[in-house]
């Protein structure tokens, strides 16, 4: 698990978009959101100390 990975993929996606490679940029954006969901699962699934 590497926290910098989604930031790196997002950065690559922005560079690809700037170079005019739209499809590749969207693909990298999808990879980034999947990694983000993984991190959300890692950091956000503990028990909250409140009654919901």
């Amino acid at each position: 698990m590497i926290m910098m990975l989604p930031f790196l993929t997002a950065f690559i996606g922005i560079v690809l978009a700037m170079k005019g490679k739209r499809a590749s940029a969207i693909g990298v954006w999808v990879i980034t959101i999947v990694i983000m969901l993984g991190w959300m699962s890692y950091h956000m699934t503990g028990t909250l100390n409140i009654s919901l």
Binding site: I2, R22, M40, H43
Partner: protein, 190 residues
């Protein structure tokens, strides 16, 4: 980096182009404020804070691509999905600190903590994107590279630099692994 833009078509949808750039500037401004607090007040980003920053970047990519290639439902979907992920993360952090007596994480900004501002921002992004989908609904066509003005190049470059800065910052705070829940110092020298 912008070399291919010399062959691009002129911007056809001026209002959409301007509003998307304005939204991208707002996203960049939010990331700048977060960095200002990180550097000036040594408030290191927690894991959920980093995920909210990532959500902002994902939203910004949607707005940026609207300016770069013309408005598209896919670009707006990118902004909405990024905002939903960011809103979920910020709401989780609000709930972590909602109990009476909890002073929250980090210092407040204009009376609210950054994760609360984050939630408000992501909801505003969803509302803005919904309105833009109505404004642009007659303009959706095959995305083509647009000829960008110098202001657009400036805003997109700022967004790119902030994205890179967040990548570097995440390495400095977390090294090449998961982030500590309550970071107090950089693992790498600043």
């Amino acid at each position: 980096m912008f070399s291919q833009l010399t062959h691009a078509t002129p911007v056809e949808h001026r209002l959409s182009y301007s509003l998307n750039l304005l939204a991208l500037l707002g996203i960049s401004f939010s990331l700048l404020i977060a960095f200002f607090y990180q550097i000036a007040f040594h408030e290191l980003p927690c894991p959920l804070c980093q995920l909210q920053r990532l959500g902002l970047i994902l939203v910004g990519m949607g707005f940026m691509m609207n300016a770069q290639f013309g408005p598209s439902t896919i670009h707006y979907a990118m902004a909405i999905i990024g905002a939903l992920a960011g809103a979920g993360t910020s709401l989780r952090q609000v709930l972590l600190h909602i109990a009476p007596g909890d002073t929250g994480y980090g210092s407040p900004f204009l009376g609210l903590h950054f994760y609360t501002w984050g939630f408000i921002s992501f909801v505003m992004v969803i509302a803005f994107t919904s309105i833009m989908l109505c404004v642009d609904h007659k303009h959706f066509s095959t995305p083509r590279l647009q000829r960008l003005g110098w202001i657009a190049v400036l805003i997109i470059s700022l967004f790119l630099i902030l994205s890179l800065a967040n990548t570097v910052s995440s390495v400095m705070v977390c090294k090449l692994g998961p982030c500590p829940d309550d970071p107090v110092q950089y693992f790498l020298p600043f």
